[in-house]
Symmetry: C2
Subunit: 406 residues, 2 copies
């Protein structure tokens, strides 16, 4: 593993990045517009929701970002600008052009994102005001304000930053994310924004982001629903002074490893703060034939409502875990599978070669009483692994998602 | 549509079928063993869970039923005989051989099923006693007892029967099903058993059952989890006196249509009685390119926890419905889609050509207050349709699945 150090802050922990978060009452009494600005031109890459129903900002970014450059990100929360037709596209484009004008940039250098209510048009007078205020308040200390302003019903802002050395140069990676928010009548949206000072080509930045997101943000699930607005973007200023990474060399892999740590942390925070969550569950599948098999099996377990309610009840229900692996579509042989449940309180094996074990109920109860639980599933047929993260499924999930009308 | 009439009873509504349900304390204070017997040799077909982790009775049936003949069904509830290794297979085979011996049949004429706790061996002394008691109590009036004995935590027994005319002969179809039961530490198992007096070849019986199950039992979901024990079987005695159906002719299609009505009724009853359910939701997707697309879209909506909690809250959250269609994998064009929500209280359009409508909140509230709700999704790109059935997602779902330890 590469040696890296966690440092204070988030998206603005990287020198040359400023941010702001302001309140313009798109939501009630909470910050609801954020801006991130890189003082020098930066390489940029983004990945978007695979949902066929794409919100307007997703469509606009896909057009603008094709040159692989960007210098600013503008985000509103409260209204998702999804299912809003031509007006929605025009509004997203206006967010881009106004931000570009105020920061002296071109439209193709602006990334735009929205999260919140679906099917409602943006209150553009408030949005314009928010963009103007953000552009005036941009500051190297504004990261936390920005992280707060992109929240919907997240209960806390999520940011993270690390530094490490690459050929004697200090490389910094910062980021913020938001998750399982929910305001009537909308859906959860996952947003992740990353900043770094590394020097890297557009192509390599795109490659590393895709790879990292597949193993982190794409391996989390709160309720299995993919939003219309999901996106993760990264800006790389290039000021670290390292020789530009242009191929998948040693330095590319070192950067990818640390970027994955940052993305995994931010992704896990989304799950930890999932709607109604009381536990963070890590599901690791080892010795699968293929990475795809390992991911399928891990995600099937992570998405199972039966598994998630069992962990809420602190019940060692290995049958539900094994059954979810069974219907996941992964190739394996049921008679070979081992399953363990682990936490800081210890480790207990539930299943050996496909048959249930008489396990220690008391010890298992102690393991399950912890907040962070690991499920290890060993398929024993190949050499590939994957980990998925999810939260448990509590009364409060139902309450948050059903009760806001009453 | 073929004219058919609902008649009283279930699996024994067909002349020549007897059944029994008895209590031998595999579960506590409830009937837990059932038997169905056809007095004459019958054609038989069955479809099983696609879960790679298959319970012992599923494995045994797949071997025995290859000849397409059966004359009896033996079922226990309380213990699923899943993940029980070689002993489990031996126990399932003993259930078969003892039933065969007592009824004077061959082993390959017996269908065996189990539902209940996973990872626990069958209490074979009780099972043997139950098989003996059932064989003595078989009666043309025993259908309801059998339907009760296959329940786990179903709240009521599920049976249904219809009759219709085919070339002047009276054809009867009966059946029973059980669903979303749950006893620590296990999972839901769906079982469906159908009886009929029609004369039909093994090949055509297998074909019609596969077709019908794909559109009924395979289109229901309570929580998206596929059990290790799921199965649907049909016995056809041939005593109706119709000319044996041997090709996919007019009579084959007529029988298939009525069989589908019976299977759909029994499948919907499983969902209506789903764990914690307060509403039955029918999700119909029209004008898809392919049946596969229509099914995918309907099942994605039916499986969405966000959609299901919204209906529990009587919230017209069309954004979640549209988003689920979007990530379903179905081919469609978001800008064409219409969505309606309907019940006996009326019909209200939510989405037109991909954009949200200002709908009547009061009228929509009345529509959503009913127990049976229909969601209509018109993709407007092809001519294929599918319907999925699910229930809403309530506090009680979480309670039933998390709280039994406390």
């Amino acid at each position: 593993m590469i040696d890296y150090k966690v440092i204070p802050g988030g998206i603005t922990a990287v020198e040359g990045f400023s941010a702001a978060g302001v309140q313009v009452n798109i939501k009630k009494a909470k910050k609801d517009m954020a801006m991130v600005y890189c003082h020098t031109p930066a390489r940029a890459a983004a990945v978007y929701t695979q949902n066929k129903v794409k919100a307007a900002p997703i469509v606009v970014n896909a057009q603008n970002l094709s040159q692989g450059e960007a210098q600013a990100i503008v985000v509103n929360s409260g209204v998702a600008n999804a299912c809003t037709g031509e007006q929605g596209l025009a509004d997203a484009r206006e967010m881009v052009s106004l931000t570009a004008e105020l920061l002296g940039l071109e439209s193709h250098q602006i990334i735009v994102a929205s999260t919140g209510v679906i099917g409602v048009n943006l209150p553009m007078d408030k949005v314009r005001q928010g963009i103007k205020e953000c552009s005036r308040k941009l500051s190297p200390d504004g990261g936390l304000d920005a992280a707060a302003a992109i929240m919907t019903t997240d209960t806390y802002p999520k940011e993270y930053a690390v530094e490490f050395e690459l050929d004697g140069k200090k490389v910094v990676i910062g980021g913020m994310s938001k998750g399982s928010g929910m305001i009537h009548p909308n859906m959860a949206t996952m947003l992740g924004f990353l900043s770094t000072n590394i020097s890297i080509s557009k192509e390599m930045l795109k490659a590393t982001l895709s790879h990292v997101v597949d193993e982190t943000f794409n391996m989390i699930t709160v309720d299995g629903d993919t939003s219309t607005n999901d996106m993760v973007a990264v800006l790389a200023s290039g000021s670290a002074g390292n020789a530009e990474i242009t191929t998948m060399d040693k330095n590319y892999h070192a950067f990818t490893k640390v970027l994955k740590e940052v993305a995994a942390h931010l992704a896990k925070e989304v799950v930890r703060d999932g709607e109604g969550a009381t536990k963070l569950l890590s599901i690791t599948v080892d010795h699968a034939y293929t990475v795809k098999d390992a991911r399928r099996a891990a995600m099937a377990v992570a998405n199972s409502s039966l598994v998630k309610t069992a962990f809420f009840g602190e019940d060692a229900n290995w049958g539900r875990i094994f059954s979810a692996v069974g219907y996941s579509g992964a190739e394996f042989s049921p008679g070979k599978v081992d399953i363990w449940i682990e936490s800081e309180a210890g480790s207990e094996q539930m299943l050996s070669a496909g048959a249930g074990l008489k396990f220690d109920e008391v010890k298992t109860g102690e393991i399950l009483a912890r907040r962070d639980i690991n499920v290890k599933i060993d398929l024993k047929v190949g050499d590939k692994s994957a980990t998925a993260w999810t939260c448990d499924f509590s009364y409060d999930y139902v309450k948050i998602n059903a009760d806001y009308r009453t």
